[in-house]
Symmetry: C2
């Protein structure tokens, strides 16, 4: 019998009515013949309440105690869902992270999963008992202390459990019904993707399509866990829910996509992020080691640098442009000013009023001219490109924020993504 | 270094301000040189909320899942108190029941403690780290499922931990400052007892002085755990708090009381319970096996029978009077009516408008005439006694409820308990 992991987030289990709805989703899959493990988050708002208490008790709270407090939220949901399933006549039991155990390192508050013992868990679900697993948490076995995986950790729990159980699929239920070619609020013609490759989803997720945590997609890619994003808000017994092909977006291996599509799409989606700030250093003396002099101090200050563009040197001087998260803009400029002695430049300037727009698709590997088409189309709309970076499966443009929607719509049409 | 267990209930940890107050109580004892383990309940109201969710999810909820849900309340408090202590510079860590472990049977919802491993726990506190223990909970080791001990279980947790740690004392902090000779709301002259024997406390607790769970007193008696009832509402740094002799009531072995008191009090306290109903069966044919015919069916119906009085038989018939909890009154009468074929009686009557008043004292063992004095005094006040039962250390009277306060005051004065 195939095994299935289902994951429900905080809004899907916000109250007992919604938990009952979740139970009906589970019932559908049990009836379809799956051996089911369900991973649940804390009821919406609970984690925030618990975190607030820790902060009120001590702004610099002990992380291991924070974990003991916060992990209680998922514990409650797991018990309540198990109770609800049993009322419906479905054998079920709750599993806390430490009971499985889900073994993690001791980085309290943002622990990483080391290993999941799928033995007892798998035996239990194969015997017909739905496992209701408290997400977001684990145990550091040497100290027997509770750990949590950090915000959004329940997605990671679900994918890791699916890998340990060798599940056929990991269904992530969320408040959207899948991954779209771009944000439908910006492009009403955006359409849901039936499938997207792990690599593409990683770019989509890290570029602002906040459907899944980047970390859980990485884990799914490494262990080749077929991860299916679908809506928890629809009627669990609606006919379309039984047809998985049409109910959401499957995140899977590139080969599975190639095998199922007659002709490969060149571009899969358009992502954008407004959380960008541009920093430009003007007239930098162009000498060996200059990049290290600039980016070393930024790394030491734990500032995450994304796009980096350095113009070809003219008359011994060059300009260096890079982007940082909006929140780090002022700090980044200050770091560069402080390092002026080592860098030797004319001045630093920049803007937080910029957006990064990215064109993503594994099909770009085998198609030339994808970038050139974009340059033309953006130029035709009078959109100035401040910086460009490319990788094998994406092209990113930094543009003025005011042009965000126009650029996204233009590129969405250009690559034939309008429905 | 002596070890000390401190226990704080739900109202003492109802919010972060009160938790901070609890931390100051702990700080005082740490400074006094104790190696401290603290047992905490869930924040006031939390357990009720969790129980309500379980009932809403399914009126006949699975007890093991109920335990998983409800045990989370104490988990939160233990983490928050540990955070607060560390902020004050006091080394501390939280311990969940399963981490110690506190091993219980699998009677989910009302589990009994089988064993507590004091090894790691004792080592930790001896090394100077305050142990903050989630009360009310344990683990059924064979299944690794969470268990809870039932309402008021945190008192039992505290006494059991004190026994496992061979603690010098188990301090139960509550919203009263000790055990009184009777309810001060009824008798303003009631005074706090410095000491009370385990056996006396058992009678006081089960008779309505709801300071401590009967079960925790039984456990304290069996393991000879000196249990000290004191107030959590006073200023933790108040001078009188350092003088344990004057800060509450010590529940201890009879010998410790005898050794410290010049002259033994005959009566220690007057307890009363309004949660009584009297059932009388009139003109029962007095033949062998009649008691079994009456009380067998009541036991089968899980009705708890307390006082039993059977008059001497006259003309082959007798009257049988017994008491049951108020809530079981109608059911008890119905059970007797149903058994009429087997019992052979004239009719069943009774009243819920009765009170049981008890005179308690280990000194009664060596003093004659204690009961006779009471009969005289009550008669002089015109109080009719419906039934009497006695044991080695108590005399109980069943009287009309209207006379409760008068009877309690009369007996309180009679035995020299007025302050």
């Amino acid at each position: 019998m195939p095994r299935l992991v289902m994951k429900f987030g905080g809004t899907s289990v916000a109250n007992l009515e919604r938990i009952s709805n979740v139970a009906r989703h589970v019932a559908r899959e049990v009836e379809a013949g799956y051996k089911v493990a369900v991973v649940v988050s804390a009821m919406s708002g609970k984690t925030n309440e618990l975190v607030a208490w820790c902060k009120e008790a001590a702004p610099l709270y002990e992380p291991s105690e924070y974990d003991a407090v916060v992990a209680s939220g998922e514990q409650v949901t797991s018990g309540l869902l198990a109770i609800t399933l049993k009322k419906m006549g479905i054998p079920a039991r709750s599993w806390q992270g430490w009971q499985i155990p889900i073994s993690t390192d001791d980085a309290h508050g943002s622990a990483r999963i080391l290993d999941i013992d799928g033995e007892a868990l798998g035996g239990s679900i194969d015997a017909g008992e739905v496992a209701v697993i408290a997400g977001f948490q684990g145990i550091h076995l040497p100290t027997r202390r509770l750990t949590t995986l950090g915000r959004g950790g329940s997605d990671t729990s679900a994918v890791a459990v699916a890998a340990a159980l060798k599940a056929e699929r990991c269904d992530i239920y969320t408040d959207v019904d899948g991954v779209y070619t771009t944000d439908p609020r910006v492009v009403p013609k955006a359409k849901r993707l039936d499938r997207i490759a792990f690599e593409e989803m990683l770019e989509m997720a890290s570029l602002g399509a906040k459907v899944l945590q980047v970390r859980s997609v990485e884990l799914a890619m490494v262990h080749n866990v077929r991860t299916f994003v679908r809506s928890s808000l629809v009627d669990p017994e609606a006919p379309e829910m039984a047809n998985v092909e049409k109910a959401g977006t499957l995140i899977c291996d590139e080969e599975e996509i190639v095998a199922t599509q007659m002709e490969q799409q060149v571009v899969t989606g358009i992502a954008f992020s407004k959380d960008e700030a541009q920093v430009s250093i003007r007239r930098v003396a162009d000498k060996p080691g200059i990049a290290a002099a600039v980016f070393g101090p930024l790394a030491e200050a734990h500032i995450n640098v994304d796009m980096i563009v350095q113009n070809v040197s003219a008359d011994g001087f060059t300009d260096i442009t890079f982007t940082v998260p909006n929140a780090d803009f002022e700090r980044a400029k200050a770091v560069i000013e402080t390092a002026k002695g080592a860098i030797d430049f004319h001045d630093v300037e920049g803007s937080t009023d910029v957006t990064k727009v990215s064109v993503i698709g594994i099909g770009m590997r085998s198609h030339a001219g994808v970038a050139a088409k974009a340059f033309e189309a953006l130029a035709a709309r009078g959109i100035n490109i401040r910086a460009i970076t490319t990788s094998e499966i994406k092209i990113s443009f930094l543009i003025d924020a005011a042009y965000t929607e126009l650029a996204v719509r233009t590129l969405h049409s250009l690559y034939g993504l309008d429905s």
